[in-house]
Symmetry: C2
Subunit: 222 residues, 2 copies
């Protein structure tokens, strides 16, 4: 039979997965708007954002409640991880809203092909969120490690898109606003990947009691 604490931890996981599901739908709708010029789900994204915001508050409350029972070891780590994952999911939702907002602006300008790397970036950042949540639900450091490996590719694609768009903006004055929207979208997708990376790091911490933050990526120089 499960203890009260085990039940509560299971409910917490379930709540975060519900929240993660909303976030995935938000990114999916924003990416669909961007790649297929389909704004049909723009308003739904706002509805999902409201739900994500409500869950953001309620997950923290539940963590607080469970912490009053003095959990230790892996249970304590599970709650600390939940607090952090909660934060990252809320921000993933924000980034999805930003992508939708920039896409709405972008679609006001005359149609123009998007940089090739952008659809790959969309796929990769969605995959990172999906696999980070999968790593969380399966308590799998191996899946989490896979997410960390994807981050570099997302960053490289962002740099490629920045270079391409900047070159195009310098050639075509009329396309400056459009280019900026594309750059900001690439930046938002990069952030989605960053937050998925944070979730993956939290899964590794939760399962292996090892804090790998600030260790797996090389320091950037200025």
């Amino acid at each position: 039979m499960q203890t009260h604490l085990e039940n509560q931890l299971q409910e917490l996981t379930q709540e975060l997965l519900t929240m993660g599901g909303h976030c995935e739908r938000m990114i999916h709708a924003s990416v669909k708007a961007l790649l297929e010029h389909d704004l049909g789900h723009a308003q739904e994204v706002l509805t999902w954002e409201n739900r994500v915001n409500q869950l953001h508050v309620s997950v923290d409350e539940h963590c607080m409640n469970i912490l009053t029972q003095a959990p230790v070891a892996s249970d304590l780590r599970a709650i600390i991880a939940a607090l952090k994952i909660n934060n990252d999911l809320e921000r993933i939702g924000d980034q999805a809203c930003n992508v939708m907002q920039n896409t709405v602006d972008l679609l006001k300008a005359p149609a123009h092909p998007l940089p090739g790397g952008l659809s790959r970036m969309c796929e990769l950042s969605m995959a990172m969120v999906r696999e980070a949540l999968d790593a969380y639900v399966r308590r799998s450091p191996e899946l989490a490690q896979g997410v960390l490996l994807m981050e570099e590719r997302v960053d490289a694609l962002k740099d490629e898109i920045f270079r391409e768009e900047l070159a195009e903006m310098s050639l075509d004055r009329a396309g400056v606003a459009r280019g900026l929207d594309v750059i900001l979208i690439a930046r938002n997708l990069e952030k989605v990947g960053d937050h998925a990376t944070n979730i993956a790091e939290d899964v590794i911490f939760m399962v292996k009691a090892k804090d790998i933050r600030h260790h797996h990526a090389p320091e950037s120089g200025i």
Copy 2:
């Protein structure tokens, strides 16, 4: 006489204030580089970032240790707040590095006046961080409320800078890369303000046991 828990909580506050001090120095050095073309502290920013990253890991460890003693009520809220503030400070440090990085790029281009709103944005975002940390150390919801009121002005300045730079980039092809750097710097400063706002919200939660997130700002429409 202070209890062991009280001592630990005081040490935690002190550790976060040290971290906050590094973050303030990082933003200050980046803003000085931007406004006075003084790159003298660029390398120091990286050194401070390393210290912030080390503190980021160590503050979480200390929070975990204190949580094993089953703190309740305001003590528990103080630790939850510390976990969150820790996260926001680390990101403020990241944003300061981004500002420095974009400034290094910007200073490679021929000198050009910066938009008037940018120095006001620098001042405001630095003030938000300073006052959020002040609100934290004094446990003052009133000071925290003052930080929340500044967020709107920072956002308005960012919008103004975006519009101005976009207009200029459309007129002057040679200034496209420069304009993009200015836009990205404005965006980073806005994020600094966002994180200071989060810290202010955490102070209100810690002192008044009231979660005001997602309540004080109007929902954005798409």
